[in-house]
């Protein structure tokens, strides 16, 4: 077995938390049950990985098998990478049935005609998701298994989730191959990026709880009256309730999809209070605002009840899930015009 492959398998196994190693190896299916049973999981992860590599040697694993293991790992732990969302467009209404073999063939052919040294692996999952792993090389060197990109394509939808770690120059090539293989005409980036792949899927497939303008019945009110001291009177109870209601209308009731950042490039005019007698310029006041948080939408949702923002919160922030983007360019207009994004 190739040294490179052995090292790669060893490193992939090292990344997996110890308790999950057995499950992942089982999913991989490359090692037999007896072999799996022979592994001693009570030792250090280093030793476990060495044992696994030895067993793989017995079965003569090659690059393809190692790539499948890597796909499985990334499928279970997708949140370690940053995913961007792309949307494909097709003109006309022909709905061909999706043929997986055809897709694979076309994709491989297209990609390898442009760049010979790539390793391409596919794996299909139950929710119609196809995972593609590409290890990039150059015209003169073999594919580097550590420089990989991943593509998740849901065949029934025009959306593709791509995680490109390095070698962004290969991105146009990848997009072209996708378009050709899936019989679409065009692909565009959706300005939506996050670590949490499931949240991206939720946003794009509209699976999160949307805000409906319904009237909630009165008994919906929370039972927040556990041990309230009668002597404490809340002065602005009605205001609080209004805020909660507005917040709920805007954000919906369920958990918000998990995004980490939102970026706004502002090019609006600076309007000052006339009595302050300051800047009156003709040109826009250029700013760049970035919001970042472990869970951005939840923290934005809690800004208003915390008193730091007015209710209702600005539509620039609340439209993130609906517009399915978190990079905006705001220009001076009657309303907001999210234009094409220019990354600084």
């Amino acid at each position: 077995m190739d040294e490179v492959v052995a090292e790669y398998i060893r490193r992939t196994v090292l990344k997996i938390p110890r308790d999950e190693i057995m499950g992942v190896l089982r999913k991989w299916g490359f090692l037999s049950e007896t072999q799996l049973g022979a592994i001693n999981f009570r030792q250090t992860k280093d030793s476990i990985s060495q044992e696994v590599v030895q067993l793989c040697e017995e079965n003569s694993a090659d690059v393809k098998q190692a790539a499948i293991l890597d796909i499985i790992y990334n499928n279970i732990y997708p949140n370690k990478r940053v995913w961007s969302v792309y949307q494909m467009k097709k003109t006309g209404e022909e709905t061909d049935l999706f043929d997986f073999t055809n897709f694979k063939k076309k994709f491989k052919r297209r990609l390898q005609s442009a760049l010979k040294n790539v390793t391409i692996s596919f794996r299909e999952y139950e929710d119609n998701a196809i995972w593609i792993r590409i290890a990039w090389g150059t015209p003169y060197t073999k594919p580097n298994q550590y420089k990989t990109s991943y593509v998740v394509y849901h065949s029934q939808t025009p959306y593709v989730f791509i995680s490109v770690s390095v070698l962004k120059s290969n991105l146009p090539l990848l997009c072209q191959a996708l378009v050709v293989a899936s019989n679409y005409h065009d692909i565009r980036e959706m300005e939506l990026r996050s670590h949490c792949l499931n949240s991206l899927k939720d946003i794009v497939f509209k699976r999160y709880s949307q805000n409906f303008q319904t009237h909630y019945p009165k008994q919906e009110k929370n039972v927040a009256t556990e041990n309230v001291d009668v002597r404490i009177i809340q002065e602005d109870k009605s205001e609080k309730e209004r805020i909660q209601r507005v917040n709920r209308e805007v954000f919906g009731d369920g958990p918000q999809p998990k995004l980490e950042f939102a970026q706004y490039k502002l090019e609006t005019m600076f309007k000052s209070d006339p009595k302050m007698d300051v800047l009156e310029k003709r040109e826009p006041f250029r700013c760049l605002v970035k919001f970042s948080s472990p869970d951005l939408l939840e923290s934005l949702k809690s800004l208003v009840p915390a008193g730091m923002a007015d209710a209702p919160l600005s539509p620039l922030l609340t439209c993130i899930p609906q517009k399915a983007r978190n990079y905006f360019k705001i220009r001076e207009r009657k309303g907001v015009l999210p234009g094409s994004f220019v990354r600084p």
Binding site: T268, F285, R286, L300
Partner: protein, 514 residues
Amino acid sequence: MSSKCRRYKKRPRCNTCRRPRPCPSARAPLPRDRRGRRGRGQGAAGRGRGRGRGRGRSSPAAPGAEAEPRAGRASSQPRRGSPPRSSRRTRGQGMPRSHPRKKGAERDPQAANNERQAPVLLSEKPPEREPLPAPAPPPAPKMAAGAVLGAAGTDGTRVQTAPGGERPGAMEPAEGAARTLPSTGRVSVAGRISGAGRLSRGPHLRKLSGRLGVSPSGRALPPGSQENADPQKIAFLLRKQWTLYSVTPLYKFSSAHLKDYGRQLGAFIAAEKQKGLAVEVGVELGIKVAVSSLPGLKGSDQDHAAVLVQLSLKSSASQKKTEEKLIWSGWFCCVAGDDLSLNVLEDFTCLPLFLANGAESYTSLVGSWFQKTFDCCFRRLVISPLILTWMAALWTGYKVDKTSSAIELVFSVPCLPQPLDISYAIHTEDAKALWDTVQKTPGEITQEEVDVFMDCLYSHFHRHFKIHLSATKLVKVSTGIASAHCDGIIKFLQSQYIIRVLMLLTELAVAQIQ
């Protein structure tokens, strides 16, 4: 220290600021019979944060939660040997509250004494501070001599920044918990308490704003200083992150003996390594210490020349050659520290600002050696949001040749279920244009102008996002000149303005010492 102290029937008050003078019994070293009292006044469990008194808050939870911790404080505090008092106003611990006008020197050994007496838990950072955009400095290290080198506040004042007021005392868990609760239901935040513009002025800030009442072209720098700052020589200071400390005057420090100091410090570090107390082991031959003088960094002739300490790691790359890799640098400096040097006695050298770059363990080693040898006291210099807004306004006004970077303000909103960081970057030219229209009085910058400038930026933000930035905490300011973080971290980006930035930092350090 309370009104019920038996020593005074009626508390004497300072004639200038009307604050009650500290009880002299608090200054004496811990006598055994008074331990109960002492524990009450300045216990290690540190109530010290005088948090309740500041009028400025930058977190909305605080005004709402203010009522509760106040009440909670009385009941939940473990007092030793005395019944809880409900309306006690706590003072910071350790340092006797001194009026800034008083002489610095005679107080300092005592102050240093007090700091050392009160065992201090340094490692707790206020929980709100957690998600910091800049790399957060590690918690203060344990010092060999038990002296203090840790987070400290710009005190003496009522300028309060975050609820985690930066005193070197551990936060009581009850208070901390009360404070990190999201607003307990009070939506109407009383006025939006501005962390930046509307803080009350303690004596420290009055002096500072008076001092800073200068035009952006800078205070009249003494004639010789600009040329002395040779750009080549100080180029190594640029683009590095320096952690700031304030240092009390050094006793019997002489610039003639720098080489001796280097040797002694080297021996000290080697000894510490033998003890196994410090740093990593490796295949190195040892640490070489170089103490030298940096000529160009002073504001006036009265200032002492800056002193640079560099630690390099000697390792044998090959048999003959030994490589030296610079692993840590630190330098003392004083730029226009007239306030301090005027009041100081002989034998004392004033170098109130200390900047360190490198591993925290080395900083503590070097700091403890200096503290032992020269009887001085190092404290982390903390920059309050108010000062950060001054820096933003001031540095926006400076002319920069290439408009490379933007003016970036980073705000942190910690008191939410999920902490939020907001970075607000404005194009340099637009910010400068705004500042130029705001700053009307020539040759002087006033607090009002800074307020107006910040309000304009806040209102522009509010127009778009409906978020009140004034209710958040400003933690970092970055311009093309320099960038400053509220934890006391600075980065110089232009050699042209390094003296002016040092001047401002020296003032902050001096204010913190006094």
